[in-house]
Symmetry: C2
Subunit: 207 residues, 2 copies
């Protein structure tokens, strides 16, 4: 296991570099929450399983993002690799010790947590949409916003992942993509590569 110090972390903050294969579990709900993770490459999903076995994906985490924050001693969500990915794991105790001595770092840590909070609230807004069309449109806009190219987006996740993120079925996701294509708002270059032809109108649907 390699040990690294990332450029944007304070001197002395080191983490372990970890690799995960597609589908691998980073941590499970109920596991001891000993580390916080930063995505180096690839995409990770945070999810929970309801007692009927259904999965709800709370969020996707991509390059540079920090995830795995939890209030208690245990993770309330699971985290899984969407594709092959590389992460850095930072020991929570070590971070907290650092936060105690480095005033700036404690605020940075708070800031990361608040970014997670903002994402969670944004996800609630997505789920609050009444229509499948609104959910999918909002999802695509969200993907565009965290993509280098605003116009062509490459989805790292399957239709099932999207469905579980939006609390829809894969059939509805598929049909809604098709509908958007019919309306000339998007073009599906492949099933995973989407050309957003009219981001403004797409934002308008996000209602």
């Amino acid at each position: 296991m390699q040990s690294v110090r990332t450029t944007d972390a304070p001197k002395g903050i080191v983490g372990a570099v970890l690799h995960y294969a597609s589908g691998a579990e980073v941590f499970g709900a109920g596991d001891a929450a000993e580390s916080i993770f930063k995505v180096v490459s690839g995409v990770v999903r945070s999810c929970s399983y309801q007692n009927d076995g259904r999965r709800l994906i709370h969020g996707f985490h991509a390059g540079g993002e920090v995830f795995g924050f939890d209030a208690g001693a245990r993770h309330s969500l699971s985290a899984e690799a969407v594709g092959d990915c590389t992460l850095i794991a930072y020991r929570r105790r070590r971070l907290e010790k650092f936060a105690a001595t480095d005033e700036g770092f404690s605020l940075r840590l708070l800031s990361y947590a608040l970014q997670s909070l903002a994402k969670a609230e944004s996800h609630s807004r997505l789920l609050g949409h009444r229509s499948a069309l609104g959910k999918i449109a909002a999802f695509l806009v969200e993907r565009a916003d965290c993509s280098a190219n605003r116009s062509i987006i490459d989805l790292a996740m399957t239709r099932q992942d999207i469905a579980d993120y939006l609390a829809l079925t894969i059939e509805t996701v598929s049909r809604t993509f098709h509908l958007l294509e019919t309306e000339n708002l998007i073009a599906l270059q492949t099933s995973r590569r989407v050309h957003l032809k009219d981001l403004a109108r797409l934002r308008g649907l996000d209602s």
Copy 2:
């Protein structure tokens, strides 16, 4: 305006005591996020408005709870008094200055933020439920969990508030309450006072 130091805050942390009438806005989405609030009495709702005018309630905040955390300089949500309520407002800058000097306090602040995060994730889980029955059951269980008496709960909010919290309509909320009463899981002593007759089965519906 009265100035107070609460028993559980570090020496020197003072806040302003504020009173709000039912329905009053504590802050609006887009306002400068200058303060963080703690509920002394009453209930506050955090909400956002979608571009079709619909309201989504992200959470209800009751006695002792801290709300108003935001990653950026502006609030992303609005906060409104559900009934008459009393809050303490803490200046964010002052808290951050304190966090920089007091190591313990910076972790306390982080902990409050992580509790907000946990609540937000829990709300996503609620919204992720496929059926109105599952949402209402989960909502009642949640209310029971933050109520003194686990069996009789007094709802501070209207049916419309509940509907906007669960992304349902008031009619569906009303009908589902009635259904639960028919199934002998609850009894509506008044429209706002609910007797949970079988919390275990209610938890089971939360699926």
